[in-house]
């Protein structure tokens, strides 16, 4: 309680008698006492609570001034009904336009039983606490909205979240119209008819939008006028409500450059200043969410284009060769990294293939792998010998890195494959400082090739290692990046190592090439157990008997 609470109660007509307090017991005392002479209620006239004393049959014996102010018409000697006043009961009740808290105390005064009714006007206190609760409710609503609107990073989903949140707090129907793209505006609506939580939507031509919405999309708030509802009814957004009974507000959803959309709310009761303030607060939050979603979309489009140009491409179908690949970049959201692999068909029926790793990580490294792959793509037309091709590539990379001054380098294995008699393959492999490939022999053993060489893009004319290896039908050569052998995992975070890789591949001679690559990826994944890792790439080349027809992936008509 604060002094303000008492203001209204001190306006009683009588002064507080200065001699009153010490020698008189409190009015609420239940102890038997002398019936006060008439007018002796002067003391309680200055209490906030009013008091009315009746006999057991309800006839009024006396009352204080605050009681009279609440119930004009009280007369001693009559019942409440006789005074034209509704009878009192304990609890909160309404008397005229006031909210009153009422309690009843049975008293025995000088052997006579009386009933004392204490009545307190709580109208103002209730209004104040209602206002406080409403303010708190608005704050809580906006806090929840901020939190939930911040989740989606997709424009439509953010718009749907906004309309779902707006109903029923802001209005009975809520529509978000997104800023038009290519002449068309998508809209989402909640409360449009089939249940309050159901969200529907559609597309509207930008030219045909209601003028008020177009205005909001331009960043100015249309004034509240009757024709707002008519405009919306025309495009069918009122959801069956009659325009003459609907209160409508249209606000901009602000974005960093221009509005990201417009928010329309429709309800049966008019908007007061608090409602409008809350609506604007909500619109600011929804606008920010949509803005983030649009920004994310634009950046994701760029990233996807980049990713599509840098992601490994499907190796071409080449007779007698089965390819298998696995790729797990360190930066998992973008799925590109510094490892690369690929294959090209050669004019003589063979194929060129490679797997490598550039220095660095992430997008920069991925862009560099793109340059290397383009280099191979171009150079293979003038040179098909792997070792000589790598030397040419080294010169080209050196030139680029010197021009850009970024000092990047790469390691890689590059090979060519040609079919041999009996379903095998003859591989010619060259390496620039890369981990040596392994070969799965048909007896289930795993052979590590002796192939090293020097880094590509560091010195002119590096030493390139080269060798030729024969694969019998069913044998597989596996190229891999250091993300495999250097994966830190197990119980204590130790490196996976070459020995474990060899052990994991032993006995896998019957696996198709894609299964071999998958197996390495899986074993490494288990080893990592969720830890971070470097880029991981595996490329398997398996000799398959050319007699096996390439698989037809369509249903053969029944004969």
């Amino acid at each position: 309680m604060n002094p303000a609470d008492l203001d209204g109660s001190e306006s009683g007509g009588r002064q507080v008698p200065l001699t009153a307090a010490p020698d008189r017991p409190a009015v609420t005392s239940l102890a038997p006492r002398q019936t006060p002479p008439p007018g002796e209620l002067a003391l309680v006239d200055n209490f906030r609570e009013g008091v009315v004393v009746t006999d057991p049959t309800g006839v009024i014996r006396e009352f204080s001034q605050p009681a009279l102010r609440l119930m004009p018409g009280l007369v001693v000697g009559h019942t409440f009904a006789g005074c034209g006043v509704a009878p009192l009961s304990a609890g909160e009740l309404t008397i005229g336009e006031r909210r009153v808290r009422c309690r009843r105390v049975d008293l025995t005064i000088a052997g006579a039983t009386s009933i004392a009714w204490y009545v307190e006007d709580v109208t103002d206190a209730i209004a104040r606490s209602d206002a406080l609760l409403a303010e708190r409710g608005r704050a809580r609503f906006l806090a929840t909205a901020s939190q939930q609107l911040g989740n989606p990073l997709h424009e439509d989903r953010a718009a749907r979240a906004a309309v779902r949140l707006a109903v029923p707090t802001l209005g009975e129907v809520a529509v978000v119209v997104l800023a038009p793209r290519r002449g068309r505006a998508r809209w989402w609506r909640a409360g449009g008819g089939d249940g309050p939580t159901l969200v529907d939507g559609g597309v509207h031509s930008a030219d045909g939008l209601p003028p008020a919405v177009a205005q909001a999309l331009d960043g100015t708030e249309p004034s509240e006028a009757d024709w707002l509802a008519d405009q919306l009814a025309e495009v069918g957004w009122l959801g069956g409500r009659r325009p003459d009974t609907a209160a409508v507000r249209v606000v901009s959803l602000p974005g960093s450059a221009s509005p990201t959309g417009a928010l329309i709310v429709v309800r049966g009761t008019p908007f007061d200043e608090h409602d409008v303030e809350m609506l604007r607060g909500f619109a600011a939050r929804a606008g920010a969410a949509l803005d983030a979603a649009v920004l994310y979309r634009d950046q994701a489009e760029v990233a996807e284009t980049l990713q599509a140009s840098l992601a490994p491409s499907e190796p071409p179908g080449v007779g007698g060769v089965q390819w298998g690949a696995a790729y797990r970049p360190a930066q998992s959201s973008l799925r590109i990294g510094g490892d690369f692999y690929g294959a090209h068909e050669l004019p003589d029926g063979g194929a060129l293939f490679y797997l490598g790793d550039v220095s660095g990580k992430g997008v920069d490294a991925a862009v560099f792998t793109g340059q290397i792959r383009q280099g191979i793509q171009a150079l293979r037309r003038i040179e098909s010998d792997p070792a000589r091709l790598l030397t040419l590539l080294n010169d080209s990379v050196l030139e680029t890195t010197r021009a850009h001054g970024h000092g990047r380098f790469a390691t890689m294995v590059l090979g060519s494959t040609h079919p041999t008699h009996g379903g095998g393959l003859s591989l010619t492999l060259a390496s620039g400082g890369h981990l040596p490939p392994v070969v799965l022999r048909s007896d289930g053993t795993v052979e590590t090739l002796d192939l090293r060489g020097m880094l590509i893009g560091v010195v002119p004319d590096p030493r390139i290692a080269a060798l030729t290896v024969q694969l019998a039908a069913g044998e597989t050569c596996v190229l891999f990046s250091d993300g495999v052998t250097e994966a830190r995992g197990g119980v204590r975070g130790e490196q996976f190592g070459a020995a474990r890789l060899v052990a994991a591949l032993e006995g896998c001679q019957r696996m198709p090439a894609p299964a071999v690559a998958e197996r390495v990826e899986q074993v490494i994944g288990d080893w990592l157990g969720g830890r971070n890792h470097d880029d991981i790439a595996v490329f398997a080349i398996r000799a398959v008997p050319p007699s096996v027809p390439q698989r037809h992936l369509h249903a053969v008509p029944a004969s």
Binding site: E304, L334, G490, R492, G507, P512, A515, G525, V556
Partner: protein, 333 residues
């Protein structure tokens, strides 16, 4: 007609298993496509031929009758068969887009793949993201494409705490999440514990997706994971304590790795059981472990010893301690 079709599937089954045994991709695809030609619906080929065969393969591996390499090759062949059947069925999507993915670290993609294909046959516009999808990739995909829902598969209960983190990440995109797989318990009881919608099979998933109420946001589950966090922190120490009791000099490097991995699985499963506060999760894992180890000639008393050592260390972990004490290790029947 149904009986005729069933008998066609039944008679093709042994041939199909034989192809898996040989890792004969073309042969297996031929078996499946010839069933389609004979009028067997694609869904039945997937659910009555491919799925049971794969379950059989898993069982053979569990009983050590097949090597892990054989199982892996067979799984690859099954995946190719599913792809071939999907292409042959050529369903045009008539419904909204849904995304199906296996959570990070989940390599058993085939069950999820089958669900994806059955949903596709049901008219959904399905994107299958594959095995072990890293959460950041999954989340950015959801933000980008705004699908009707994302279906997440988890085959191993020991991955549940990780699964839950990924589920929460997906929920923050506002895309409704539906989960499936044996990792959530045969009846999905651990999905219920984590407060996430569960479908027991592809049919159930399709009907859940068709329910508008499925969109309603679920309140986040409140798990008391203090004991779980403590267990995760004590993992290496627990494994070391268990290793002290084993005579590792007699083990080959591969056996040491396998033992370390098994001890890791024991702690992970115990932690997952603590996470969802359900002793049966650990009990089921131990039953499975008993079968796998005894069929590989590992003496089970060493595992029992491991449980004792861990229980001793985990006196201050009421749930973990009780689970370890209650569990009984049995060899394969």
């Amino acid at each position: 007609m149904t009986a005729v079709l069933d008998s066609a599937v039944e008679s093709a089954y042994p041939r199909y298993l034989h192809c898996l045994d040989l890792a004969d991709e073309n042969g297996a695809i031929d078996v499946a496509l010839s069933l389609l030609d004979a009028g067997v619906p694609a869904e039945r080929v997937l659910l009555s031929l491919v799925a049971p065969a794969q379950a059989q393969v898993g069982e053979w591996w569990q009983r050590n009758e097949w090597s892990v390499a054989q199982e892996h090759a067979a799984t690859h062949v099954s995946e190719r068969v599913v792809a071939a059947v999907a292409i042959a069925a050529r369903t045009r999507p008539t419904r909204e887009r849904v995304v199906v993915a296996c959570l990070d670290g989940e390599w058993h993609a085939l069950p999820a793949r089958l669900v994806a294909e059955v949903l596709r046959l049901d008219g959904w516009d399905v994107t299958f993201l594959g095995a072990s999808v890293p959460s950041p990739h999954l989340v950015s995909y959801l933000h980008r494409h705004d699908p009707r829902a994302v279906l997440l598969a988890c085959a191993l209960p020991m991955r549940l705490p990780h699964a839950f983190r990924a589920i929460e990440a997906c929920r923050r995109t506002d895309v409704p999440v539906l989960v499936g797989g044996r990792g959530f318990g045969a009846d999905g009881r651990w999905a219920a514990k984590l407060g996430v919608a569960f479908a027991s099979d592809a049919r159930a998933a399709s009907s859940v997706l068709a329910t508008p109420a499925f969109d309603a946001a679920t309140p986040p589950a409140l798990l008391d994971d203090t004991e779980y966090a403590g267990l995760v922190a004590a993992k290496v120490e627990l494994i070391d304590l268990a290793l002290e009791r084993l005579d590792l000099r007699r083990y080959s490097p591969a056996q040491v790795d396998a033992t370390l991995a098994d001890l890791g699985y024991i702690v992970d499963s115990l932690a997952a059981a603590v996470y969802v506060d359900d002793a049966s999760l650990f009990g089921e894992f131990v039953g499975w472990l008993g079968e796998v180890l005894s069929s590989r000639g590992v003496p089970l008393h060493t595992v029992g010893l491991t449980f004792d050592v861990m229980a001793d260390r985990l006196r201050d972990f009421p749930r973990a301690h009780r689970f370890l004490r209650e569990v009984a290790l049995r060899p394969a029947a």
